[in-house]
């Protein structure tokens, strides 16, 4: 009982101003991430922070959690000026945050993870007490998890529950969640929104970041839209609909999508598939696996000129390994790899890339960029000797080519001398795509190229892939987004457990069959042949 009381220092009255931010400014190099942002969060509300990639949502939320220090502006917590110098300050004031990448220790149990976070943890941990507190809160807010379970055995959805429980047990009244639904399955999203509702009814304030409009309209009481570092507007639930929010997000230019050519160059797959020579062939390819990797088994795959071959699958079923095998980062133990008609099994990565293979990896920051170097230097990487001028680099030629590539796809050209780490996730992805596409590749291997991109950029990337396909380039599109794959693919493969579980010609697939194959429950007769 004592525990419960200590959890309720808040007024249950809704509408009290819990956090108020005034005139927040935060600059990263040349980028104004937050430009005089005023923002208020009340008790008893679910507040959604909406915006494109790089609109400044993450920066604002990190400032409210004391993780990032603003250059100017002030923050009031419960009406009093509160300089949040560290997350510790924020937690002491009852503000908690769930990051996109969870901060749980996989080897420890749920109970231990939660206990570690408690501010008043006694020298001798009384597991029984903590366990009771967890169960009580879990029951109250619909966050059922088993306290003794190891975190590494939990699903992503359950891990998120643990993160929320952790904050609740540490007496947080304000919960900030950075894209909480990104990692969740649809039914888990529903569940999470249920949790939000019970929390807000008890006076908690919830701020969550997203760029999915449907979720916002389904769950938020108030919606704040950010654009280019500023607050574009705040709307109550009743006053907002999809088109209103879209025009706030994109400044009323939503119908003008960059990179679009004539109306018939949409991203969708071409109607009549007449494809050319094979650019890439894998014949019975298999790899060895170490640790958490997936071994590829007997992969037969071909990508021809002028076609998009989609690869569907739940990530972790060998997609990364497939990409690495094609790139040459790992070698086939069995079978062979043929590029442009030549046996490329032993080619170096440099040779594979030089032969006209472009690669958009799943995590551009760690796999395709060097954070400490400038945008311009990053654009020069992986271009081989193309821009060599004596012992140095022909920077002018490089710049003009790359700027041309950015423009061609309607991407904003970033500050070339700024460190690439100052770019937002979406702009970084654009920079990688612009670089990879700059030299008219013959084959594009794209892993989750639209993951983390906002709607507009995702559409632009899809159109781009469609357009290069129409001009004869082959594309291997590895994605988790079935709608994207269905829209784009001329042929569709399904990966499961490191093997190809099914192959479909366009029009021969159905979400039901593909979904079953992806989860390993495919009936053999459901496998349609191309």
């Amino acid at each position: 009982m004592i525990w419960i009381e200590s959890l309720l220092p808040m007024s249950t009255e809704t509408g009290t101003l819990l956090i108020e931010a005034r005139g927040i400014v935060k600059r990263y190099a040349t980028v104004l991430a937050n430009d005089h942002v005023d923002f208020a969060l009340r008790g008893g509300e679910v507040h959604a922070l909406l915006g494109e990639n790089g609109a400044g949502k993450s920066t604002l939320s990190r400032i409210l959690y004391g993780f990032t220090q603003p250059d100017a502006g002030e923050i009031l917590v419960a009406g009093r000026l509160a300089p949040l110098r560290s997350p510790h300050d924020a937690r002491a004031l009852g503000i908690g945050m769930v990051f996109q990448n969870f901060t749980l220790i996989p080897a420890l149990s749920v109970l231990e993870n939660i206990a570690l976070f408690l501010t008043n943890l006694p020298p001798v941990v009384r597991r029984g007490d903590i366990s009771r507190r967890i169960r009580r809160l879990a029951g109250r807010f619909g966050l059922s998890v088993e306290p003794s379970a190891l975190v590494r055995q939990l699903s992503v959805g359950d891990q998120q529950k643990v993160e929320i429980l952790k904050l609740l047990l540490a007496d947080a009244r304000v919960l900030i969640l950075d894209e909480p639904t990104k990692v969740l399955a649809p039914h888990e999203v529903e569940e999470l929104f249920g949790v939000f509702r019970t929390l807000k009814n008890e006076g908690y304030a919830i701020l969550f970041i997203t760029h999915k409009l449907r979720e916002v309209l389904a769950s938020a009481d108030r919606i704040t839209v950010m654009r280019q570092g500023r607050i574009a507007g705040t709307r109550a639930r009743g006053e907002a609909d999809e088109s209103a929010l879209v025009s706030l997000m994109f400044g009323g230019q939503a119908d003008q999508i960059p990179g679009s050519g004539s109306a018939d160059t949409t991203g969708g797959a071409r109607a009549a598939a007449h494809t050319g020579a094979a650019l890439l062939e894998l014949r019975g390819a298999g790899t060895r696996a170490a640790g958490s990797e997936t071994a590829l088994r007997d992969i037969d795959l071909a990508v021809h000129e002028g076609e998009i071959v989609g690869v569907a699958g739940v990530s972790g079923n060998g997609q990364k390994e497939l990409g690495d095998l094609i790139l040459g980062l790992r070698s086939a133990r069995r079978g062979s790899k043929i590029l442009h008609g030549e046996d490329a099994s032993r080619w170096s990565i440099g040779r594979v890339r030089k032969s006209g293979v472009a690669f958009v990896p799943e995590d551009p920051l760690s796999m395709a960029a060097v954070p400490g170097m400038s945008v311009r230097e990053n654009l020069a990487l992986g271009t081989g000797r193309r821009y060599a001028r004596g012992v140095t680099v022909d920077w002018r030629l490089l710049e003009s080519t790359m700027v041309g590539s950015f423009r061609r796809f309607g991407f904003p050209v970033p500050a070339l001398h700024a460190p690439i780490r100052s770019l937002s996730g979406g702009n970084l992805q654009r920079a990688v795509i612009a670089r990879e596409m700059a030299h008219d590749p013959r084959l594009i291997i794209a892993l989750y190229p639209t993951r983390g991109l906002d709607v507009m950029s995702a559409v632009a990337v899809r159109r781009l892939l469609g357009a290069v396909r129409d001009s004869g380039t082959g594309v291997l599109l590895i994605s988790e987004d079935l709608e994207e794959l269905f829209e784009m693919s001329d042929r569709l493969l399904v990966m499961y457990g490191g093997a190809i579980a099914g192959e479909f010609a366009r029009g021969k697939w159905s979400a039901d069959v593909v979904g079953h194959l992806m989860t390993g429950s495919g009936r053999p007769d459901g496998k349609a042949e191309a």
Partner: protein, 351 residues
């Protein structure tokens, strides 16, 4: 409270924005202040000690020239560390590479003692470079093949190189005219690097300055430098972008080792005039410290090298004038290390 904090913050900002030279001056002043307290505790007069040091190093031409002489191997071994560090490789083997450079250069000098200087000296320089390069390429290859970590391999090879020297000076190369000492015969005149202005400052100074300049130019100005910094900044991305990691690891290590080898060549050719045991009082290790403290910055390396040349002289001078053991130098080096590390962690914490 917040006023005090912001004042501290602004002081910190002023320091962090001050030019490089002033920052090093600040480090030195703080370190000398702390070391003065230690001298007082030892019952010595720090003002006298510093005045003596100043008089013996800056006060006369000979003292100053000896500082420069000392800087030559330190600069070269610092570059030998800084260059591989740019691709994220930690070369602790400058000492061993220096010895192997000295060994191979000596081999050339002894075998071709009849050659004139214009032929022999370039050849010895090349041999010195190759000696160090091969010695560093071994750990480079082992690392590239993922057999042994280069830090461990370079460190261990430091203990092997002097033994090779010992074998040769006790055995095959032992001089006849001075056979009571384990050392090679004196080199012919054609094998001696010329010195300048009646001092011991020798042509090795040019090697050192050119190496430092080349280090800066390669890393900052060439396309290979861009690739090197990419490897150092994010090896996974670099590899995925087709940069030949293995090649860079071996070649960059070899070049670094070669530069350390030049230091060894300079010592035997210009200073000693023969090969003998213990030809380096730990230049390779001090060079590592210099490169590391300077954070790979070329100007910083130059300033730090000068500073460490002074510090190592302090040991000699205080030994003579104050009767302190030579190892007080280690205390002073430790104090400097503390000041630099302390400043870094303060900076990190204030972010």
């Amino acid at each position: 409270m917040s006023a005090g904090l912001s004042a501290a913050a602004s002081v910190r900002r002023v320091i962090s924005r001050a030019p490089l030279f002033l920052r090093y001056l600040f480090i030195i002043a703080l370190a000398l202040g702390i070391f003065a307290l230690i001298l007082v505790a030892a019952g010595k007069d720090p003002f006298k000690a510093y005045a003596d040091t100043f008089a013996y190093t800056f006060g006369n031409v000979y003292g100053f020239s000896e500082l420069i002489v000392r800087m030559i191997p330190l600069l070269l071994t610092a570059v030998a560390v800084a260059f591989p560090a740019r691709i994220g490789m930690i070369n602790v083997g400058g000492e061993g590479q220096l010895y192997m450079g000295a060994w191979l250069a000596s081999g050339g000098a002894l075998a071709l003692s009849g050659f004139p200087a214009w032929a022999l000296l370039p050849l010895m320089t090349l041999l010195g470079f190759i000696g160090g390069a091969v010695w560093a390429a071994i750990p480079g290859i082992l690392r590239a093949k993922k057999v042994v970590n280069e830090t461990i391999a370079t460190l261990l090879l430091n203990y092997v190189a002097p033994m090779i020297i010992s074998y040769f000076v006790f055995g095959p190369w032992r001089g006849v005219e001075s056979s009571s000492y384990p050392q090679s015969p004196a080199f012919s005149d054609g094998a001696r690097l010329p010195s300048f202005f009646n001092t011991r400052i020798h042509v090795g100074l040019l090697f050192a300055l050119v190496s430092l300049l080349a280090y800066w130019a390669i890393v900052e100005k060439t396309r290979w430098g861009v690739q090197m910094r990419a490897i150092g900044g994010n090896p996974e991305a670099a590899e995925r972008l087709g940069i030949p990691l293995v090649l860079y690891m071996v070649i960059v290590m070899a070049i670094g080792g070669g530069v350390a080898g030049l230091a060894g060549m300079g010592e035997v050719s210009a200073i000693q005039g023969r090969l003998r045991q213990g030809l380096s009082p730990g230049y390779g290790f001090t060079g590592f410290l210099i490169a590391w403290l300077a954070g790979g910055n070329p100007l910083g390396i130059l300033l730090m090298t000068f500073l460490f040349a002074v510090i190592t002289s302090v040991g000699d001078i205080l030994q003579i004038t104050q009767g302190l053991p030579y190892s007080v130098v280690n205390i002073l080096m430790a104090v400097i290390l503390f000041v630099v590390l302390g400043r870094r962690s303060v900076r990190r914490a204030s972010r």
